[in-house]
């Protein structure tokens, strides 16, 4: 049970930071006397939002998301490697270079293929 205390403390600090920030801005903010109607809009700049938020996203977003998640998860292998690389020595470094180079080649492919182009 002892080992859970740091997690509880962490949770308490993390949530109190959020409340503190919101509370501080509530206390410290400047209050306007009359509220202009634009204040109620989603974008205060006066830009009126068009259409519904529940729209179908363009498949391009998915392609980018898929490429991202693939490379994102592969970095999970870097953590155990980084913890042990000192003990494992040169062999581990060579291994990781091979791994990363293969990933990089995949990235070059995605890049040249235009999977990351955003337009």
């Amino acid at each position: 049970m002892q080992s859970w205390i740091p997690i509880l403390v962490y949770l308490a600090i993390a949530s109190s930071v959020g409340f503190l920030m919101l509370g501080a801005s509530r206390v410290l903010r400047v209050r306007a006397k009359d509220v202009p109607p634009t204040r109620e809009l989603t974008y205060e700049s006066g830009e009126e939002p068009v259409g519904n938020a529940w729209i179908r996203f363009h498949p391009r977003y998915y392609v980018v998301a898929l490429v991202f998640i693939l490379f994102d998860v592969e970095t999970a292998f870097l953590v155990p490697w980084a913890l042990n690389v000192r003990a494992l020595g040169r062999f581990a470094i060579v291994e990781m270079i091979v791994f990363v180079v293969i990933l990089l080649l995949g990235w070059v492919y995605a890049l040249r293929k235009g999977a990351l182009k955003w337009q």
Partner: protein, 519 residues
């Protein structure tokens, strides 16, 4: 911490895979850096890579059997021959694809890259001796084939086939993974050698865990090899996939999954009543042989018929697997130390060697024959057919003998080989396998096998009858001609006849097959 120390020797079994992977990456990058309009060079690179990889694998097959890479992989003739056969299958499939894709204007480096990645996964699967590597390699091969299945994105059919394959493949992989996790839980090890050593104790302590694990692993493999009753995905996926991919799936994927299954279970049956694995595999073999042939019987769609026929052939291979676990063999094995002890070096009298030989020769025969059969179909289907429903209908083969005698003769040859008619490699494969099964004491099952293959002869010959005795329809398509397709078909046809008449050296090599399983 153990600092790994590998010698170059350790990497010998993965050399073919290295060649395949390197070529695959080159092909993938060639697609984005070289934008030349003719892409036949990509097929040639892929074909050369599979020849080189196959050559290395054949060379490896004469190395003494041993565990390498700290027990994560094996180097034994069984896996090396499998790798060589996978490379042969990939070589033929690549050549078939070149013409097939060119006709559809869909030639892409990624296609060949995916094929080579799949081949690399198959080769690695056949030599994995540890659950993590086994799972990774199964996924390498599966993910590549999912993508290949849906490669031709015309109409809903390919994406449906791809998604169906994905769902069932992912399900099978999850079953296998769950089983591996339970076995790891029971034994505390993932290397098959250590698992097999710890299994008797684990079995005494928590039999339920071990049984559940074994059952799940078996179900996972049974999906991959398409054994009845885990076969329902096969016809849909085989029909929906591009035909050269279907050819690769029916030959390579199946062979690799079979070898991995045999290896895993030879390790995992330790401490278990030998009757149980024998019964289970016999039952699977029985259902798959009979089921596959009966389901193929009413099919008028030749591609679908071949899909069911591949199930039936998996059944014959399962007969060989069942023979390996036959009580007679297990007893004999206990005496000479085959099933329990160090790598077998093998003499010709040894029954288990005969089974290994039969199994390998059968896989070789099925590889060349099914590549040829699917290859002929792929050359006959036209691009315009994709929107029509009857692309592979029997009618399309009517009168082929008058129009294109060479193609009809090749197709007839492949059909006869699938049916097991001499003098083809299909006949010899069945002969070796069935006689080995009889020697192992599986007389009843072998008789069922022979009878069910007689059913098979009916629907294989029906294609031949249509080609030679029916008049051609008016809109009969001419085969698409491309030198790579023709080269692949001639190679398969020569191998089908050549291995059927003069199997000499090959069988001699296959009788020296050893397999690492436990110490």
């Amino acid at each position: 911490m153990i600092i790994p120390h590998f010698t170059l020797n350790d990497f010998l079994p993965v050399m073919p895979v290295g060649v395949l992977m390197a070529a695959a990456i080159v092909l993938m990058l060639s697609e984005v850096f070289l934008t030349s309009t003719t892409r036949t060079y990509q097929a040639i690179i892929a074909a050369l890579a599979s020849i080189v990889a196959g050559g290395i694998a054949v060379n490896n097959a004469f190395e003494p059997a041993r565990l390498v890479l700290q027990g994560y992989a094996v180097l034994d003739p069984f896996s090396s021959w499998t790798t060589a056969m996978v490379c042969l299958g990939t070589f033929l499939a690549v050549l078939l694809s070149a013409g097939f894709l060119k006709h559809r204007n869909a030639e892409r480096g990624e296609f060949y890259a995916l094929m080579l990645f799949a081949a690399a996964g198959m080769s690695l699967l056949s030599l994995s001796a540890e659950f993590i590597t086994l799972f990774i390699n199964l996924e390498v091969l599966s993910v590549a084939t999912y993508a290949l299945t849906a490669f031709l994105r015309r109409g809903p059919r390919p994406s449906e086939a791809g998604f169906k394959y994905f769902i069932l493949g992912a399900f099978a992989a999850a079953l296998l993974l769950y089983g591996a996790a339970l076995i790891y839980g029971a034994t505390g090890a993932t290397k098959l050698v250590e698992v097999s050593a710890a299994l008797p104790a684990a079995f005494a302590k928590s039999p339920a865990l071990v049984y559940a694990g074994l059952g799940l692993v078996l179900a996972g493999f049974a999906f991959k090899v398409a054994a009845v009753p885990f076969h329902m995905w096969t016809p849909d996926v085989y029909e929906g996939a591009p035909t050269p991919v279907t050819a690769l799936m029916s030959a390579g994927v199946k062979a690799a999954a079979f070898v991995a299954m045999v290896r895993t279970f030879l390790f995992l049956v330790k401490g278990i009543d030998p009757v149980i694995p024998f019964t289970v595999f016999s039952l699977l073999a029985l259902l798959t042989m009979v089921g596959g042939n009966l389901l193929a019987l009413p099919q008028r769609n030749v591609k679908r018929m071949l899909a069911y026929s591949s199930i039936a052939h998996a059944g014959y291979m399962l007969l060989g697997v069942a023979a390996l676990f036959a009580p007679k063999l297990v007893e004999a094995g206990a005496k000479v130390g085959v099933l329990t002890a160090t790598p077998l070096t093998g003499t010709a009298q040894d029954v288990s060697v005969a089974v290994y030989k039969g199994l390998l020769f059968y896989i070789l025969g099925y590889t060349v024959t099914s590549l040829g059969a699917f290859g002929t179909i792929s050359a006959l289907e036209r691009r315009e057919d994709e929107t029509r429903g009857n692309t592979w209908d029997l009618e399309r083969f009517a009168g082929l003998a008058q129009r294109k005698p060479g193609w009809a003769a090749a197709m007839a040859l492949f059909m006869l080989s699938l049916g097991g008619v001499p003098p083809t490699v299909g006949f010899l494969g069945k002969l070796f396998l069935f006689s080995a099964a009889v020697d192992a004491g599986l007389l009843g099952l072998a008789i069922v096998g022979v009878l069910s293959s007689v059913i098979g002869v009916y629907f294989y010959l029906r294609v031949v009858v249509y080609m030679f005795m029916r008049p051609a329809p008016i809109d009969a398509p001419a085969p698409f001609r491309h030198w790579t397709t023709e080269l692949a078909l001639v190679t398969s046809a020569v191998l089908v006849v050549g291995l059927g008449i003069l199997p000499g050296t090959i069988t001699e090599w296959f009788s020296r097959v050893g397999m690492v399983f436990g110490h």
